[in-house]
C-alpha cells in the first residue's frame, strides 16, 4: 500500500500552481469578490412555482425554459433582473433594489392569457351601490364604454391594413378603469354594432363557439352568489365557462369558453395613432388564433352587449373587456380606450408576455434592504472568523506544533475556496448567500476533521511502535481511506440536498459540496506533504515537547520516534506497557 515514494515538494508545487492559475483567472476576469446573493446585498427575489392545471399538459423543461424567456423579456426592460430556473418547476426572479412592487406584480401575474366572450357581468355587490336588478346590470351599467374614444377615428395604422370594416378590434370599457365609469348606457360607438342582436342562434362552426344567448338562468343565479374570493385557479378550465372578477374586484363575470389563447398572440404594442390623444394597444394574432378571432369577431360584433365583449383574462382575472366593433379577419386588432401611455404599455406587455406556457404561482417574495443585507454579510463574516479562530485555538491547544499544519491547511483551503467562489460566480453564476456562508463555516469543521483523523492515526502508528517518518506514511494510507469515506458521505449529502431542494438550501448544499471537494484536495496535496516535510525537521521528527508528537505523551521511548538518532532499533523490548 504505502510503497509510493512521497514527493511532498511536487504536491505543494501543484497546489501553488493551481492557486496561481486561480488568481490569474481572477485577474484576467477582473473579478476579485464573490457574487453576493440578494439577501446579502439587498434586493427582491421572487420564486414562482409551476402548477399543473387543467388542459395544459405536463410541466416540461422546455416549457419552463420558454416561460423563463418570456418572464425575462417582461422584466428585462424594467431592471437588471435575473431569471433562472431552479429544480424542475421553479423560476426565480431576482431584482436588485427593494420596493419594486411593480415587478413583483408583473412577474407574479405572468400566467395564461385567454380571450373569452363575456356572457354576463355584474357589479360586485360591494359597499357603494346595491344594484338591484341583476338582469339589467350586465347589459347596461357594466359596459360603460368610453364614448370619447370609441366613436372617433379608429383607423390608426391598423386600420389601413385591415381590409374588413373600418376598424379592427374595438374598445374598451374600463381597460384599466382609470376614469370614473360614468355609465352611459348605450355605447354604440360603431353604427353597425348592436342592431342584429340575437339573429343567428347557433353560430357554431369549427372550434369557435360563440354564445348568442348569453348566460343561462342557472349561470345568472350562480353569478348572483359568486364572490371574487371564490375563484380558484384549479377549476379554471379553458374549455368551460368561467366565473371570475376583474382585477380590481369590482365587477364579476360569467365568461364563455376561451376562444383565443395567449400563445396565439404574436405581438402587442402600445401605440399613439396620429392625430389622436389617446393611446391604444395594437394586437397581432398568429396561427389558429387568427382564424378563430376572425370567426368570433364576425359573429360577436352583431350581438348585443355584453355578448359583443371580449374579456381579456389573465390568470383568471379580467384585465379588460373591450367591445368588438367589427369583424377582424386579418388578425390585426387594436384595443382603444382611455388609456394613458403607461396603461397601454402595461396592457400590451400583458398581452405579449402574459402568454406563458405554464401556470405559475408566486410562492415566495422576499425583499431585503441593503442595510439588512450588509448586516447579514457582516454577521456571516464575523461568525466565520470566530469559528475559524476557535478551531485554530483548539488545534494549537491539543495538537501543539501540528496546529501549525491545521492553520496552514485551513489557509490554503480558504484561498482555494475563495478563488472557486469568485470564479464560479463569474462562470457559473454561483451567488454567495447567507446560507452559503453558513455552509462554508460549517465546512471549516469538516475540513479540520480530516486533519484530526490523520493526526490521530499518526499518533496511533507511533504508539504502535513505528518511527515518525514511517508513521507519516503508513498512517496516511489508513487515514486517507477514512477521510475519503467520510468525505464522500458529506459530498453525497450535499449533492442530494442540492439536487432535490429549493431556495436557501441549495446555496448551503453547494457551498458544503464545494468545500468538501476542496478539503479532499487540500488534505492530499497540502496537508499530507506538509506533514511529510515537517517530519524531517528536528522539531517534529524528534518529538519536541511542543510538536504535538511528544513521545512521552504518546507513551513511547524517544529513540523509537526517530530511529535515525537512536542506536537501539529493536522494537521488541519496548512495548508501551513494557514492564
Amino acid at each position: 500500500m504505502a510503497t509510493k515514494r512521497p514527493h511532498p515538494w511536487r504536491s505543494l508545487a501543484v497546489l501553488l500552481v493551481a492557486l496561481l492559475v486561480g488568481v490569474g483567472l481572477m485577474a484576467t476576469l477582473g473579478a476579485w469578490t464573490p457574487r453576493l446573493g440578494l439577501d446579502l446585498r439587498g434586493g427582491t427575489s421572487i420564486t414562482l412555482t409551476a402548477r399543473p392545471s387543467a388542459g395544459q399538459g405536463a410541466i416540461t423543461p422546455e416549457k419552463l425554459a420558454e416561460a423563463v424567456e418570456i418572464i425575462r423579456n417582461r422584466v428585462g426592460a424594467i431592471a437588471e433582473a435575473e431569471v433562472t430556473t431552479q429544480g424542475n418547476d421553479h423560476i426565480v426572479v431576482e431584482v436588485p433594489g427593494v420596493g419594486q412592487d411593480q415587478i413583483v406584480r408583473l412577474v407574479g401575474s405572468t400566467a395564461e392569457l385567454r380571450f373569452r366572450q363575456v356572457l354576463a357581468a355584474a357589479p360586485v355587490a360591494a359597499p357603494p351601490q346595491p344594484k338591484p336588478t341583476p338582469s339589467k346590470s350586465p347589459a347596461t351599467s357594466k359596459a360603460t364604454p368610453k364614448p370619447t374614444v370609441g366613436p372617433s377615428v379608429k383607423p390608426s395604422n391598423k386600420a389601413t391594413k385591415s381590409p374588413a370594416p373600418r376598424a379592427p378590434g374595438r374598445a374598451v370599457p374600463q381597460a384599466f378603469r382609470r376614469n370614473a365609469p360614468t355609465p352611459t348606457p348605450t355605447p354604440t360607438p360603431k353604427a353597425t354594432v348592436p342592431a342584429p342582436k340575437a339573429t343567428t342562434p347557433t353560430v357554431d362552426n369549427g372550434k369557435v363557439r360563440v354564445s348568442t344567448t348569453g348566460a343561462s338562468p342557472e349561470q345568472m343565479a350562480a353569478l348572483q352568489k359568486f364572490k371574487c374570493a371564490d375563484y380558484t385557479p384549479g377549476k379554471d378550465n379553458f374549455k368551460q365557462a368561467l366565473f371570475t372578477c376583474d382585477r380590481e374586484g369590482t365587477t364579476k363575470f360569467v365568461l364563455g369558453p376561451a376562444i383565443v389563447l395567449g400563445s396565439e398572440i404574436a405581438d402587442a404594442s402600445a401605440q399613439l395613432p396620429q392625430n389622436q390623444l389617446a393611446w391604444q394597444v395594437g394586437l397581432r394574432l398568429k396561427g389558429a388564433g387568427k382564424s378563430k378571432f376572425a370567426q368570433a369577431s364576425t359573429q360577436m360584433y352583431q350581438l348585443q352587449q355584453p355578448l359583443s365583449q371580449f374579456a381579456i383574462v389573465l390568470d383568471g382575472k379580467v384585465v379588460s373587456y373591450p367591445v368588438i366593433q367589427g369583424p377582424i379577419t386579418d388578425g390585426q386588432a387594436s384595443i382603444t380606450g382611455n388609456f394613458s401611455q403607461q396603461e397601454a404599455t402595461d396592457l400590451a406587455n400583458t398581452l405579449k408576455y402574459g402568454a406563458l406556457p405554464l401556470r405559475f404561482e408566486t410562492s415566495q417574495v422576499s425583499a431585503v434592504s441593503p442595510t439588512l443585507g450588509s448586516d447579514q454579510l457582516t454577521g456571516g463574516l464575523v461568525a466565520g472568523a470566530i469559528g475559524l479562530a476557535l478551531v485554530v485555538l483548539y488545534s494549537f491547544f491539543y495538537y501543539r506544533g501540528l496546529g501549525l499544519v491545521v492553520v496552514l491547511s485551513l489557509a490554503a483551503a480558504g484561498a482555494l475556496v475563495y478563488a472557486s467562489v469568485v470564479l464560479l460566480g463569474k462562470s457559473a453564476g454561483f451567488t454567495l448567500t447567507l446560507a452559503g456562508i453558513a455552509g462554508l463555516i460549517v465546512a471549516i469543521g469538516i475540513t479540520a476533521d480530516s486533519f484530526v483523523v490523520y493526526f490521530e492515526r499518526l499518533r496511533d502508528e507511533v504508539r504502535d511502535g513505528r518511527s515518525l517518518r514511517t508513521a507519516v506514511e503508513t498512517g496516511w494510507v489508513r487515514a486517507r481511506r477514512t477521510i475519503l469515506a467520510a468525505d464522500s458521505v458529506s459530498l453525497l449529502a450535499a449533492v442530494v440536498l442540492y439536487a432535490l431542494s429549493v431556495g436557501n438550501v441549495r446555496g448551503f448544499a453547494y457551498a458544503l459540496g464545494l468545500t468538501t471537494l476542496i478539503d479532499i484536495i487540500i488534505v492530499f496535496v497540502f496537508t499530507k506533504p506538509l506533514v511529510t516535510l515537517l517530519a524531517r525537521t528536528r522539531f517534529f521528527g524528534e518529538g519536541h515537547r511542543f510538536s504535538g508528537l511528544d513521545p512521552t505523551r504518546l507513551g513511547v521511548p524517544r529513540e523509537r520516534l526517530a530511529p535515525r538518532t537512536a542506536t537501539r532499533a529493536s522494537t521488541r523490548a519496548s512495548s508501551p506497557k513494557g514492564a
Partner: protein
C-alpha cells in the same frame, strides 16, 4: 492537557477502557426514554412551524426613534387600519431593541404594498428600509415535501455507499438507525423547547445526517480494522473488539465533535446574539443539537447496535463460545495453579501462553506440554492469525489489549 493526552494513550492501548458495548442495554434504555420524550413532544406539543411553512407575509422594519417595544401597538393599528387583513390579526413583535416584525396571513402584491406603506408611515422610515418576505400558502408544503424526499433519497444512497464501503449490511443498518435516532431527537428538542422550525432548520437537520454518518463511518472504520480476521482467533469477541475500536477512536470523536461544534457555536453566537433571528441562528441551532446527538449516537448507539447484529451471526456466536471456553479454561487453570497465577500475569512467556492457550495452533504445538487446551481443533483457519504478544496481559481480562503493531500481521495484509 498532558493528562488528556495520557488518557488518549491509555484508551488506545486498552489500559483504560470504557465499556460502551457491554453496557448497551443501558444506552438503549436512555435513548429509548429520550426518544419517547422526543416523539411525545412532537405529537403533543407539535412543532412551531415558521411563517415559511404556514404561508403569509413577514415584514421587518427598523424603528427610527424610541424603542421597538413601544412602537408595537401603533404598528398593529396602522396595519389593521389598512383593512387588507380582513378579519385576521397581525402578529407584531419586536426583534432586538430597534426592529419590529409584523406577521400577517398571505396577502396579494397590492396589499403587501399597502401594508408596507402603512408601516413605513407609522414608523416614519422609508419604505425601502422595510424588508419583507411573502410566502405562498403551498410553499411550505413544497419545502417539506422536498425535504422529506431528500431525506429518503439520501438514506437509500447512504445505505448503498456504506454497504459498498464496508461490505456489511449490518453496518448500513446500524448507521441508519443511529441517524434516524439523531434526527428524531433533534426534532424532539425543537418540539420540546418550542424553537421555530424554519427552512433553515430543515437545512440544518439534513446536514446533521451527513455529520452523523461521517462520525459513524469513522468509528466503523476502526471497528472493521479491529475485527478483520477476528473469527479465526479466539482471543476476543466481536463486541470486545468493537468496544476497543470505540475506545480507540474516542479521543478522535471528541476532538472532531469539538472542532465541528466550534464554528457552529460561532454562527450560533453571531446569529442569535448579534443578528437576532434569522437563517444563521436557525441553522446553527439545529446543527449544534444535531452534531452533539450525532456524536453520542455513533458511540452509544451505532456501535452497540452493530455488535448486537453481529453477535447473531453463527460465526460470531461460535467465536463468543470459544472465547468463553478459553477464558473459563484459563480461569480454571489459574485457579488450579494457585499462586502461580500472578506469576503468569507478570509476563513470562509461559504464563502468557497459559493465559491464551488456544490462540494459535502453532504456538500450541510449540508449547505442547500443556494439556489444558480445550480445543486444539478450534485453531482452524489461518494458523498465523493473531500471533501472541509477549507483552503482559492479565488472563482474566475481558477487555482486549492492543499489541505493538510490529508484532502483528504485516501491514500489507491490512485490507
Amino acid at each position: 492537557m498532558s493528562r488528556l493526552g495520557a488518557v488518549g494513550h491509555k484508551l488506545y492501548t486498552g489500559e483504560v477502557s470504557l465499556n460502551f458495548v457491554g453496557r448497551r442495554k443501558l444506552w438503549y434504555l436512555i435513548s429509548a426514554v429520550v426518544l419517547v420524550i422526543a416523539i411525545g413532544a412532537v405529537l403533543i406539543r407539535g412543532l412551531a412551524f415558521s411563517i415559511e411553512f404556514r404561508g403569509g407575509v413577514d415584514f421587518q422594519a427598523p424603528v427610527a426613534s424610541g424603542s421597538a417595544q413601544n412602537a408595537i401597538p401603533g404598528v398593529r393599528t396602522a396595519v389593521v387600519d389598512t383593512g387588507v387583513l380582513g378579519r385576521a390579526e397581525p402578529i407584531v413583535t419586536s426583534i432586538g431593541a430597534n426592529q419590529v416584525r409584523v406577521e400577517t396571513p398571505p396577502l396579494s402584491t397590492d396589499n403587501i404594498a399597502k401594508a408596507r406603506t402603512a408601516i413605513a408611515k407609522q414608523l416614519k422610515v422609508g419604505e425601502g428600509q422595510i424588508d419583507y418576505s411573502s410566502i405562498g400558502p403551498t410553499w411550505g408544503a413544497q419545502i417539506t415535501d422536498k425535504a422529506l424526499l431528500s431525506l429518503g433519497v439520501f438514506l437509500v444512497l447512504v445505505m448503498g455507499v456504506i454497504w459498498l464501503y464496508f461490505r456489511e449490511w449490518r453496518m448500513s443498518v446500524s448507521g441508519l438507525v443511529a441517524l434516524l435516532h439523531d434526527v428524531a431527537i433533534t426534532v424532539g428538542i425543537y418540539a420540546l423547547v418550542g424553537f421555530d422550525v424554519t427552512p433553515a432548520t430543515i437545512i440544518g437537520v439534513l446536514t446533521i445526517l451527513g455529520y452523523s454518518l461521517y462520525d459513524t463511518v469513522v468509528v466503523f472504520d476502526k471497528v472493521r480494522e479491529n475485527t478483520r480476521s477476528i473469527s479465526s482467533g479466539s482471543r476476543w469477541t466481536y463486541s470486545e473488539a468493537a468496544n476497543l475500536a470505540v475506545n480507540q477512536t474516542l479521543v478522535r470523536s471528541i476532538n472532531t465533535s469539538i472542532i465541528a461544534l466550534l464554528p457552529v457555536a460561532g454562527i450560533l453566537f453571531v446569529g442569535a446574539g448579534l443578528l437576532g433571528a434569522g437563517t444563521l441562528k436557525d441553522l446553527s441551532l439545529a446543527l449544534f443539537i444535531g452534531i452533539a446527538v450525532g456524536t453520542y449516537s455513533s458511540i452509544f448507539i451505532a456501535t452497540p447496535l452493530l455488535c448486537d447484529l453481529k453477535e447473531r451471526e453463527p460465526a460470531m456466536r461460535a467465536l463468543s463460545r470459544r472465547v468463553e471456553q478459553r477464558r473459563a479454561g484459563a480461569a480454571a487453570k489459574s485457579a488450579a495453579s494457585g499462586s502461580a497465577g500472578p506469576a503468569a500475569v507478570s509476563g513470562t512467556p509461559g504464563g502468557a501462553e497459559g493465559g491464551e492457550p488456544a490462540a494459535s495452533g502453532e504456538d500450541q504445538g510449540a508449547n505442547g506440554t500443556r494439556q489444558s487446551v480445550p480445543a486444539t481443533s478450534r485453531a482452524q483457519g489461518r494458523p498465523a492469525g493473531r500471533p501472541q504478544s509477549t507483552s503482559s496481559r492479565s488472563a482474566g481480562r475481558s477487555q482486549p489489549q492492543r499489541k505493538p503493531r510490529s508484532t502483528r500481521r504485516p501491514k500489507g495484509h491490512g485490507r
